[in-house]
Each structure stands twice: as structure tokens, then as C-alpha cells.
Amino acid sequence: MRKALGRSLGRSLGSAALAVALLTGLAPHAALAAKTDVTIGMPLEPPNLDPTGGAAAAIDEVVYANVFEGLTRIGPDGSVLPALAASWDISDDGLVYTFSLREGVTYHDGTAFDAEDVKFSLDRARAEDSTNAQKALFAAIASVDVVDPLTVKVTLSSPAGNFLFNMGWGDAVIVASESAADNATNPIGTGPFKFVNWVKGDHVELGRNPDYWGEPAQLEKATFKFISDPTAAFAAMMAEDLDAYPNFPAPETLSQFEADARFAVVIGSTEGETILAINNGRAPFDDIKVRQALAHAVDRQAVIDGAMFGYGTPIGTHFAPHHPAYVDLTGQYSYDPEKAKALLAEAGHGDGLTVSLKLPPPSYARRGGEIIAQQLAAVGVTAEIANLEWAQWIAEPFKGKDYDLTIVSHTEPMDIGIYARDDYYFDYHSDAFKAIMEELNNTTDPARRTELFQDAQRQIADDAVNVFLFELAKAGVWNAKLKGLWANSPVQANDLTGAYWED
Amino acid sequence: MSLLNVDKLNLTIGRTPILKNVSLTLGQGEALGIVGESGSGKSLTALSIMRLLPHGSTVGGRITLAGEDLSALSEAEMCERRGRVMGMVFQEPMSALNPLKTIGDQVAEAVRVHGNVTPREADEVARETLNRVGLPATRFPLSRYPHELSGGQRQRVVIAMAIVLKPRLVIADEPTTALDVTTQARILDLLKRLVAEDGSSLILISHDLAIVAEMADRIAIMKDGAVVESGETVELFRAMQHPYSRMLRAASTYVSRRQRRLQASEGHDAPILDTKGVVQEYRDGPRQLFRRAASFRAVDDVGFTIRRGENVGLVGESGSGKSTLARVVLALDPPKAGTVTLDGADLLASRGPERQALRRHIQAVFQDPYGSFNPRHTVARLVAEPFHLDEGKLSAIERRRRVEDALVAVGMQASDADKYPHEFSGGQRQRLAIARALITQPSLIVLDEAVSALDVSIRAQILDLLADLSDRLNVSYLFISHDLTVVRAITDRVVIMQDGRIVEQGETEEVFANPAHPYTQSLLAATPNLERALAARQAGLEAQ
């Protein structure tokens, strides 16, 4: 580090004139013409850069599709596209997937990609001592067999309708056995960008991979800068320190950007079902009337307006509205404080309730929590707010089921299956729902699958498991000249493959 | 032609008039003594001449020095005169030197600011001057810091700074008040010699008539900002006009009004206080973690006795251990070794109620009239504090009555009981302190420098009060003081301490008349004596 400082001292003395110009306040990028680099803002810094070893969305947001690729990948519209697997065959019983791999793919360190790497990656992810956060994705796999260097056969123990989609997750990317151990700090993948450096606490820098197997990226350099503070993010965008902030954390400022010709604001969809989660196992919420009362007490539109400045789509169940199988159930529990009071009275809580409302850090939760607390107060439910850090949130409500109410956005795609989990933090147990899920897993017929999805949606809405609030919007702000960024967020990623600057 | 002429000097600070029409003259090579008690304006007269007055001062009148009207000079011109034409020596040698600079640097600075000299030349002048004030290069290199010097040595440095450029006027403001009596004598001799060598004129400011009579050719007596009387020294004393001057003179040669002197034959009583083999040590330097800190033996194997009704003086210079001994006698600090027997009971071995009961027989009066009272309590509460020692609690009415009695006994009013200490003057406070000591009707009162902080006139009154109380109440005093004159006036027996040991003790008159120990002799010789000084001056005049 000291050496680096000395080096840069020499360099900067050499370019003292430029430095003086900088000090006197010329904006550094005013002088540059055709831009080939991009600086992307992100709210959270990834703890490490290995998508197979950590759950943090921030990891995928940096490396997914940029540095690492899986057998399949998820397109901007949520569809499953071929990636390292050029094509695949599925056996009629839905149990055997045979992937044909692309030729001539190399890792960034020059080693070749082949079927052994696929077997290594999948076996590693599902191994006993695996630290893969999404081990469930691989639960269906019975065995992985290398047929030849460019063919892999994956055998499932039971049919899995969404197996190809699962293989497109960041947690299922293909890594090389040689470099896998160091991926946390020095990720080596097959993607169009390779890792350059990481200034901890500030930014990660990627550079174009000239040897990419597909169409090379148009950008030469991409920097992901971590700015969690919404004010700082706002200031950095306004000062043009950032070129894009795909998931802007302060919706209240979007009107500012919209009014400014330098910026484009793009509102897209995410897979984030934002819910007021209820501890179904704890009195008085084990009484469906109380849960229904809560659902009637909450004015979703007011929450969207108040917390998200109108960005977001109301939902009536745990499903993404842009999905074809979505059922609009928002009318089932309309905003009706009187009815909520009546239901509470019926349940024997006419003289009020005091409950805890534990909120994780994101502003949808903190702001939404404040608004919902006041809405609940209007029907006689006193919600005592406790703001938690993520770590505490995971320890208390999520793992310990130590909560009454909480607000969180479930951002994993197609995750309605969590309602079938027995030990999940909702503490919701429904044999009817489990039966639907069971059948869904064994069904490959698309029409039937849609029906089952809709049954599942209705089931949890009928049971008023949680208060379903809204689908999180993706509010992207970027420089008006920057093109090719994803508007929607079917997976947590900033795929820069197609990004370019327009003159 | 006189060197200095102060003509109708008036000084106001804020809206308070301080000096009123002060006029003084001083001839070349002459020494002028300015005498007065605190608040007389003698120091501010000197500071007016130097023009180093506090903020908000307004000066009227004329000051002429060597034919130059100082009042007409600008501040920059005054800076140029200070140190070069007139130098000043201050009272407090401990704080008059910058603790962070070497003595050489501070003396040389006076040279540097006044002339185009190289630092080396300035250092040479500083060296010479330090030699002249009796700080030879071998023991006192220029690189010494003030904290490495004793009080007397520091005062020599201050004098060196004042005379380094041989100014025509040297002003010494109470230059020896903070020093021990033997040091005082040497510093005064030095000052006298230096001004004589340089042919400078001297203004010596003091509260002590004896010192001034010894040093000054002419004397001005000040009171409340005005000169009440002035003139040639011998002449002035011969024909003192002003009542204040006379009072001052009388107080300076205080003679006790005590009527009853204890006769040796009366001493058949058991002693009221008996101390044996008292040793006290203090830690010297910082506490050490792993080895025992060096210790300093403040009192070393001391024993003496006070008989009932007897007044004993404990005399010594600072550091002699007399106050440490007092704290042991008062059972404030346990000694390393030795016993203190009070009224036949072992005071130091006593505990709890027994100790409390013994304490009733021994009370104390301390030096500082301002620090000896909690400013937040009323006089009644303060004076009644030793009632804490009484087992059978007195009724509130009885308490009040005894407090009022004690106040009246020390010459205060009963109504003073409801006032706060800050409403009283220093002398009055010392009366209150005596009242507090008397309230338990003790057999022994320890007076630790109890009159040292008082002006001479007040001091005389307090001594009268003490003598009177001693006569009336049959109480003994352990009278601790550095001032031999005072001790001589009020005690029956005297104990002389030096460096933690008793060097001599005996009947007061006997010791003063025929001191046996060389240290006692030197103490007596160094003590300023008005009559002796006047006699010497008279003799000098006649010799001319």
C-alpha cells in the first residue's frame, strides 16, 4: 500500500497541471469524449464475490451474467435462455436433462471450460458440507454424469417443473475446480467481464473479457460503487459521479431526475413481493379473523404512495403481477377499517391489541412500517415499531420466529413454495396448500401448472397468511445516454452484456 | 536634580479611585521605601511608574524620569524604556519566571529586546549578570530551568533580569515577602549592593517598616491610596506626625499585653501535651510500580511538652517540618512513629468515641483567613462545627447561646452568627476561626501561622485577643510561626526546628537573649528589627 502511494505520488507530480485543474474544480469527465466505461451505483456492498457461497443479492448484482454464467440464464423478461448450455434435451418422464455445452469457452484465467466443471459445480453445491445458500435448488438432483467433455447428463429423483429456471440462478453458476476456492475475493468465471479489483467499502471494478465466447461487451470497464445512503446516492447521481443506479433507494427523489434531461428514469418490475408478514403460530394471529382484520386495516395504495411515492403494484397474494399465472386478489381484503374493527371485536379483541412490528433497514420496510402502524392504530391495534439491522432481523423474526409482524420483500423469483415449508418464519401450516405444491412439482403440463399456481395463490389469500402489500418496483435512474440496461429485474442482476453509450 | 518625580498621581480602575494625589521624589542613587498595608496602593504606584496597569485604568498626574515626561510617551516608547531605564523585581519568585524557559534565556531576553546584539552576546551579558547576583556558572549554567532553583535563587534570577541593563531606576515590590527570613536578609543585602555598584536608584515597596528602615534613605507611608507621611528615614521616625504612621510603628514593634506569665515553678501540673519520638515521612516523587518510592523525612524524632496554661512557640523556616508536626499533633495524619499524649491519654491510639472525646480538648486555627471557612455555611453553623464532638447533643437554643458567647468573646457581635464568611474581613475571619476553636472549651489550641497572612495592624489586634483569651480561659497555645517577633511576644517557651529536627528549646526570653544553637543565632540575626535598623542608620549618618 505504501509502495502504491509512493508510485502514485510520482505519477501525480508528473501530471501536476491536470491535478491543479482538478483541484480548481473542473469536472473530471467533461474532458473525456467517447465513453467506454460505466459506473453503477448499488445500495449494498457484496460481502464476497462468490455467488455460490453467499446469499447476498449484491453478489449477483455484480457478478451474475457479467463474470459468472450458469448452464442457463434468465433473460430480461424472465424467460429461460441458453447460456453455457447451448441446448438441452428432457426425457419424457422429466427426470433426465442432457445439456450440450458450448465449445471453446475458457475461464478468465485461461483454463478451459468443460463438462467436468459442470459436474464439479453442481456436486459442490449439493454436497453435505456445502455452504451454498440455496441448496434447495439442487435438492432434486440425484446424480450428475459427464457423458463427454461437451455433454452433461443430470438425473433428477423427482420431476421438477422449474429445474431449468433454477439452473439460471446465480447460485447455480458454473465455476472451475482450480479457482473455486478463491472466488470469494478473486472471482474467475466465463462471462464477458473479468474481475479487476475491489476497493473494499467503495467499489468493485470489472474489465472487458476480450476472449469471451459470445458477442463481446461494448463497455471496456464497469465499476460498481457501493452507496447505501440514499442522500449520498442522490448527490452522487446529481453530481454525475455515477452513470446509473439501477435500483434507486430513494423513490421520493425520482421526480427530480425525471425533470432533469440528463437522466432517464425507468420503472420496471421486480420479483419482490412485499408483505406484512404475520406470525401465524402466535396468539392472537393463530385466529384467522385477526389476520383478516389486519388485511382489511391496511390501505395498500396509501402504503405505496407514502413509502414508495406511488411506485409499486398492489398485490393480493404472494405472486408477481407480471407473471401470466397471476390472479388479482387485491379486492378480497379491501381497505375497510370498520370491517377490520368488527373482525377484531368478533375475535374478542374489541378493546385493542398491542403487537410488535419489527422492521429491517430498507426504506420500504421502515417507511411502510410507520404508515401501517398508523393505519393499524386507526382500528385499535397498537404496533410497537422496532427497527432492526439485517443481522438482527434474521436472528429474531426470521430464525427465531420472535415477532408478531414484520415487513419484508421476498425478492426470489417464483417463491410461493415457501408457504409449504414447515419451519418457515410465517409458521403457516396448511395441508391443502402442501398438496397443491406437491402436485405442482410433479406436473410439467403448462396449463395445469398455471391452474395449480392460481390455486396456491387463492389458498394463501383465503387463509390470510400475510397481508400482501405490493410488488416492489424497480426504479432505475441512469444517464440518458446510457442504453441497454435492464428495465426489469427477473433475477437480481445488473447484466451489462448489452450496455453501451449513445453519442 | 531628582531622578524620578511623581507629581499628583491619580489612578482609577473602572470607577474605583485607587490612588489619590500621590507625589514622590527620588534622587539619583537614592533608595526610597514605600510602606503600607494591603490596599494602600503601594504596588499600583510602582506599576503606574512602569505603566503596567490592569485593563480599565485611568491615570492622571505627571511622572518624570530622568527629565523625561513618561506620561507623554507612547506605549512603544514605554516598551523601549522598560528594562533599560527602569527595571522591576516582583514579589512572587515562584511565578515571576516562565517555567518553560531557561533562566539564561529569560535574562538574555531583556538584553535582546533592547539592543542589536547577537544571541551570543546577549548570553554573555546574561552570564555576567547571573554571576553578579550570586549564581555562578558552575552551579547555575544558563540552561537551568526555574523549577530547578529554590525560591531565593529564583528571586536572584528575577533581580538579574531587572538589573541586567543597569537601569537608572530599580523598583522592588515586596521582593522578600515570600522568602524565609535568612534568605530575605541575603536578598536584601544583594539588592543593596547591586544598586550601589550601578549607581541606580531604588524604590523598595514593603509592608515591613523594619526592612524599609534598614534599606531606604527616604520613606513614604501610604494608606488608602494616598501618601500620609514621607521624609528622610531617621527624621521621619524621630518626629512621626500622622496617627496612622504611629500606629504602624507601634504594631511593628508589637509587645504583648499579656499580664500573666507562667512561672517555671507553676509547672507542677501534668503536661497537657506530650509528644515523643515523632517521625513522619512523605513520598518523594511519583509512585513507583515495582519499587518503593523514595521517601522524604519531614519530621525526625521530635518530642516536646506543653504544660497546662503554657504557650509554646514552634519556630522554623519553610520545610522545617513544623506544619507536618502540627498535623500529627492534631491527629490529622498518623505518624510513622512516635506518641502524642493529650491530657494523659494516648491520642493516636484512641479510636471512635474515645478519639472524639479527646479531640474536644485540642482545637486549631489555621493560616488562611479566606480558606478556613466553607463559603456556603453561615457563621453560626461554622462556629458550631466542633459540637460534632459532643456526645450528648446540645439543644438548638443552647448551641446558639454558646455560639453567640464565643462570638462575643472574640470581639464580634452575636448577630454576626447569621452572616456568611465572605461578609467579613480577613481579621474578622480570624476572630471567627478563634471562636470556632474555643467553642468546645479546649485545653490546647494549635495556631498554625494564624496571624501570618494579616496586616501588621490587624495582626496586633489578633495577638491582643489571643493574649487576652489566654489570660482569661487558661488555655494553652501551640503557636507555630516563622516570625520570631510574634513568637517572642506571645509565648512562654519556644521550640526551634530545622530540617525536621528540634535544634533548641527553652524559655522564650532565655532563648532570644542567649541563643545556643548557631541556627537560632542566624535566625535572630536575620530578623529585621526596626530599632536596630534605625540605630545603625543613625550611626551611619553620624559617621558621615
Binding site: 460481502p47 476497493v199 473494499k200 457501493f226 434474521i394 436472528a395 | 516582583f90 517555567p99 529586546v113
Partner: protein, 316 residues
């Protein structure tokens, strides 16, 4: 001098030892499992258990304490739970931001405070003094994060003179790096400069009341010379005490400022680490900051001795 230093050093070590125990115990009782946090919402319990084993979280308490403190002595602070890199590297990287920032702010505070304090003392009870004292009162009263917001609004979003935050790294050039620290340093320095100016003024006034100033004036020094040659150095002792306290504050107190300007410094590291339950990082950074405070105070003690010859006497 030697024993003085040795003695101070022993008490310094004792403080650090006590601090390390306090920190370790606090971290032990802090709720939240780093392994669970790292693996997220849908994590498999088996994976969490595997990770706990891997991170050494299952060892006995005393063993972990000794490992940690022992590692500290050889500069091995362990491996960050979240970043999976040695904590030492992580801290070293952040120090390259935090220390320059603290030094810059301190320098700025001193550069502003000394002249201002001296002028106020020299012109005491004048209009100038009143204005300066009023301004410093205001400087102390303004919360630095709010002041930082105003600075960003004015100089980054408005005038675009400085970037709104972030740190390009020293590799981008010394001046570029320093430039990115200017606004944060100003925001940090303002209250410190105000405090320091007030301390400077009152220390000077106290010194000006000392007898040796009058002695100096009697030698013929002008009041300006007396202040320069005699008062300032003596007034430095209380001023240095405050500077010592401030440096540690600047190192740690930058937590909020580093967040406003999204600087990758120690403050943000610790904040992030607390939120992510990266306890090994929290422990080490806190201990490091405590060590910094203790060492700075130790240095200030030594500096006293350099300024004040009376303290040097203590040397046997």
C-alpha cells in the same frame, strides 16, 4: 525519562488489556449469528452449521479470546466473516482513508483555531472577540452531519466543485485523493476548530494572568511579544490535551461523516461490520481505536514533557 516512559507504558498496556476483555465480552453477548447472516433468508441449517465450524465459532470462549488477543500481537487479526479476507488487510485499507482524513481535519482545525483563538485572546472583550466567540459557539452547536449535508448541497450538487463523496483511491493520484477528502475534512473540522479556538483563547487568557507575563513586560517586551514569546507556548499544554482528545474523536467520530460522504474508512467499516455481525472485524477495529486513543494520549503525555521541563525532572 526512561522510568516515566516505562510506567506510562505499563498503564497503557493495562488499559488495552482491560479494553480487550470488555470488547470481547460485549461481542459475545451481541445477538445475531454471523453465519446465518452470511447465508441469508433461505439458507439451509446444515450450511449454516458448516459455516460456523469453518469460522471457528464453535470453539470455547476462552480459546477464542486467546486466539484473538494472541493474533493481535503478531498482527494477525483473523479472517473477516463477511469479506473472507484478513481483517488486517481490511483495516489497513481503511486506515489509508481514515488517518489522512483525521490528519487533514486536525490540521484544518489547528490552522483555523490557532490564529482565531490568539486574535480573540489578544483583543479580549472587544467586538472582534465577541464575534469570534459567537461564531465558535455556532460552530459547536451545528451537528456535523447536518453541516456535511449543507456542504454537499452547496459544493457538489450546486457548484459541482467537489464530488459528492466516495474515494477514488490513492492510485488515482495524491491530489485527487486529497480533493475527495476536502469536504469531509471541513465538515469534521468545523466543530473541532470551534472548540480548539475557545480552548486556545481561554488558555491564553489564563496564561496572560500569570506573573511571568508581567515580568516579561517589565523587561520591555510589548504585549504582542509577550504573547508570542511567553504565552503561546505555555497555553499549548491545555490545547494539546484537547488536540489529543480530538484526534481520537476524529478517527472514530468520522463514522457518520464517512457515511454521508460514503468514504471507505474505519468508521464505515465498523458500522457495516456491526450491521453485518462481522464481529471479528468489529472487535479488532474497536480495539484498534481504543489503542489509538490510548497511544495518542501517551504521545500527548510525552509531548508535555517536551514542552514542560518540569515534567522532565521526574526522570531519575
Amino acid at each position: 525519562m526512561g522510568s516515566f516512559v516505562a510506567q506510562r507504558f505499563v498503564s497503557l498496556s493495562a488499559t488495552l488489556l482491560a479494553a480487550s476483555i470488555v470488547i470481547f465480552v460485549v461481542m459475545e453477548v451481541l445477538p445475531g449469528d454471523p453465519a446465518a447472516y452470511m447465508l441469508g433468508l433461505n439458507a439451509d441449517p446444515a450450511a449454516v452449521a458448516a459455516l460456523r465450524e469453518q469460522l471457528g465459532l464453535n470453539e470455547p470462549v476462552l480459546q477464542r479470546y486467546l486466539n484473538w488477543v494472541g493474533g493481535f500481537f503478531v498482527g494477525d487479526f483473523g479472517l473477516s466473516y463477511t469479506y473472507r479476507v484478513p481483517v488486517r488487510e481490511l483495516i489497513a485499507d481503511r486506515l489509508w482513508v481514515s488517518v489522512p482524513l483525521a490528519l487533514m481535519a486536525l490540521a484544518l482545525a489547528i490552522i483555523i483555531a490557532f490564529p482565531v483563538g490568539i486574535i480573540a485572546a489578544a483583543k479580549r472583550n472587544s467586538i472582534v472577540d465577541a464575534v469570534i466567540m459567537g461564531a465558535t459557539q455556532l460552530g459547536i452547536a451545528i451537528p456535523n452531519f447536518w453541516f456535511a449535508m449543507l456542504l454537499v448541497l452547496a459544493f457538489s450538487v450546486g457548484l459541482r466543485w467537489f464530488s459528492a463523496g466516495g474515494f477514488p483511491g490513492w492510485d488515482a493520484g495524491i491530489l485527487v485523493g486529497m480533493k475527495s477528502l476536502v469536504l469531509p475534512a471541513v465538515a469534521l473540522a468545523l466543530p473541532q476548530a470551534s472548540i480548539l479556538a475557545r480552548v486556545m483563547r481561554s488558555a491564553l487568557l489564563d496564561t496572560l494572568h500569570e506573573d511571568f507575563i508581567r515580568t516579561a513586560r517589565a523587561k520591555g517586551l510589548s504585549s504582542g511579544q509577550a504573547i508570542r514569546h511567553h504565552a503561546v507556548r505555555n497555553a499549548l499544554i491545555p490545547v494539546m490535551t484537547i488536540i489529543g482528545l480530538q484526534f481520537s474523536f476524529l478517527l472514530a467520530g468520522a463514522i457518520i461523516i464517512e457515511n454521508v460522504f460514503f468514504l471507505p474508512g474505519l468508521g464505515r467499516l465498523i458500522f457495516q461490520a456491526i450491521a453485518q455481525r462481522d464481529l471479528i472485524v468489529v472487535k479488532s477495529v474497536v480495539l484498534l481505536l481504543v489503542a489509538a486513543v490510548v497511544i495518542v494520549n501517551f504521545t500527548v503525555d510525552l509531548a508535555y514533557a517536551a514542552i514542560d521541563p518540569r515534567l522532565r525532572r521526574r526522570a531519575p
